[in-house]
Amino acid sequence: MSVVSDLPAKRRGPSLSDRRARLNELSSRHRSWSILVGMAIVGAVLPLIVQFPPFTLAQAPNAWIDGFTNAGVFVLLALGLNLVVGVAGLLDLGYAAFFAIGAYTYAYVASPFGNSILGIDILNALGGPNNAGIIFWPMLLVGAGVAALFGVLLGAPTLRLRGDYLAIVTLGFGEIVPLVFLNSDRITNGTNGIGGLARPALPILGGFSGIDPWPYYLTALALVTVVMMFCYRLIESRIGRAWEAIREDELAAAANGINTVVAKLLAFALGASTAGIAGVFNASKLVTVSPDQFGFVVSFTILAMVVLGGMGNFWGVAVGAFVIYTINNVLLKTLNQFFDSAGIPILRDVDFIQLQFLLYGLALVAMMLLRPEGLFPNSRRRRELHTAITESEQDELGSVAGTTEEDLPQ
């Protein structure tokens, strides 16, 4: 009796859990679309909420939008580094070098100084600095290509080394690249860098301006969306699975027929190319490039974003990058201003912006000890990190002869 009477009740309409399941299924079948829709929503909501307090108390809406654009650059960088560190498990500590290479690539093509070095007057050929910005769009691809080329050049000899050597070589590379830009005065203008870059331009709408943050904001949004779709498709593809296999056990991956050198090179090159895109965009926004924009601090900041966001999970990494950038550049600055104006004795003298790296350091250590998978973890990565730690705990209890570290994912 009761069974029969229950049936019509269920047919009345899909329950909440049914709907959620259908939504999940839909979004997993059309992940690219869901990224597109998700980013469109985020992109629309962000400028809206900053029109109201408490956001307007910190800074004007346009300053927020400009800040979001800069955050977008770091999201791009974090997404690229995530492919290398999070997905393929290769620790790259000189990632800012590729950012620098992308930026200088654009600078050579889109500035009077750069053109004089190249010996081709690209700016005037395209109708002067105001119209030449059209070159920005193809330069995104060129910048990506040049950065990828350098990624391969650096990776080819070093990727057959074990992981931690790679970390040191990339660290050295990250130091050398800004040094080369700094010391090769005649072709890079040394400390002063290259200025007067053309701002991007669109065929009908004309050039971007330094005052209106919207064109840059929308461009950054589009770039992040495209790169996210690429990341997703890569991670879910054959090569993405190869990367994860290498990360978890390189020997086993090689034994299963994965060409580990090629796969690692690809990860390196694709990660580098994302940094190249970010470099071109950032250069076109700042209209100047100089060696001091690309120090170790930048590489480290991006790494912190990837680790805190959750290595391997590109949504987590993107959110991590966005949040960290905003905390650094808005919250800490606001705290400074607040305590300065409030005149609270000790806090007034603390420079919170100076503290940010101390916070990064503490966060990284705490994260690795307590929650190595990051705030928004990738599920497989979490399992991997947690098995290893549980085994270490067992080990401390006394079962010494059990597993050795060679048995564990490296």
Binding site: V85, G89, L91, L93, P157, T158, L161, R162, G163, D164, Y165, A167, I168, V169, L171, G172, F173, E175, I176, L179, V180, N183, F296, F300, L303, V307, M311, Q354, L355, F357, L358, Y360, G361, L362, A363, L364, V365, M368, L369, P372, E384, L385, A388, I389, E391, S392, D395, V400, A401, T403, T404, E405, E406, L408, P409, Q410
Partner: protein, 341 residues
Amino acid sequence: MTAVPATSDAGHASPRVGLGGVLRIVLPILLLIGTYEYMGPEQFVNALTRGAIYALIALGYTMVYGIIELINFAHGDMFMVGAFVSLSFLSFLGFTGAITDIGLLAVVLLATFVVSMVVMGVIGVLIERFAYKPLRRAPRLAPLITAIGVSFILQNVVQLFYGPYQTNSPKIFPDTWFIEIAGARIPVLSLFIIAVAVGLMIALQLFIGRTRLGRSMRATAADRDAAALMGVNINRTIAITFLIGSALAGAAGVVNGLQYGVATFNDGFQAGLKAFTAAVLGGIGNTVGAALGGFIIGFIEVIAVVAGYGRWGPAIVFGTLVIVLVFRPAGLLGQQLGERA
């Protein structure tokens, strides 16, 4: 994991005496003579002094890597903290300039070395205990990232106390003392630094080679689990490795303050990178190699300065690192502590 007998002296086993063997001895000597002729005695001693500092730092890298296979990124910053500990200690005692009384100088120097080395040793052990030990069996990336975090913590804590600019370190060793060797004026300070560094290296070598603790260190490096089964206290051995490595970094910090008279919160980054290069150059895990590598890096840097490419110095050093890793990842002397490439 291939186990190496803990007492193996693989480096000295039956040297092949042939053309290669002769070249291996003659070539370095010729190189050294050539370098001396090129640089002149003053710069030669300068290179040795720099090299001694790098070598002291490199020892810490190589020992820690040998025993737990961790590139301790924070080690360069330990050197920097050591420099700050020593300058704070000297300022606390009220010394600001050169001490010309030899007796007093000796006492103050000894006290500074002891204080800096003990403080750094303790800090090193604490860092190992709280930051690295819980991750000993975690995937490689985890302790590496932790080490980077520790590095930033050290730098920024120092920056918090001493500010972002250079801090003067009292040059208590008179830089007006010179001795004439072969017609060149050589600062006594340089000779003192080289002597201290070489003395510490010999002491370390004796410790690792001749004592019970040194033997447990070699055993742990060769095969941790087997060593544990043989009754070696692994945790204590690793802690002692950190203690010694960090104490050597502390000594390097003292020496650096005496030589250059300034310290900055981010000194440790480049110095650490160069010292790491030295450790890799000599063969990571090998303490003799690290010392040798340190001196080689010192020479490379000073040669770059003499040749007029001083500002390319770091690039040349890192270039060397890349070349060594590509063509001879085991380094010049290969491995002695453990057998992992």
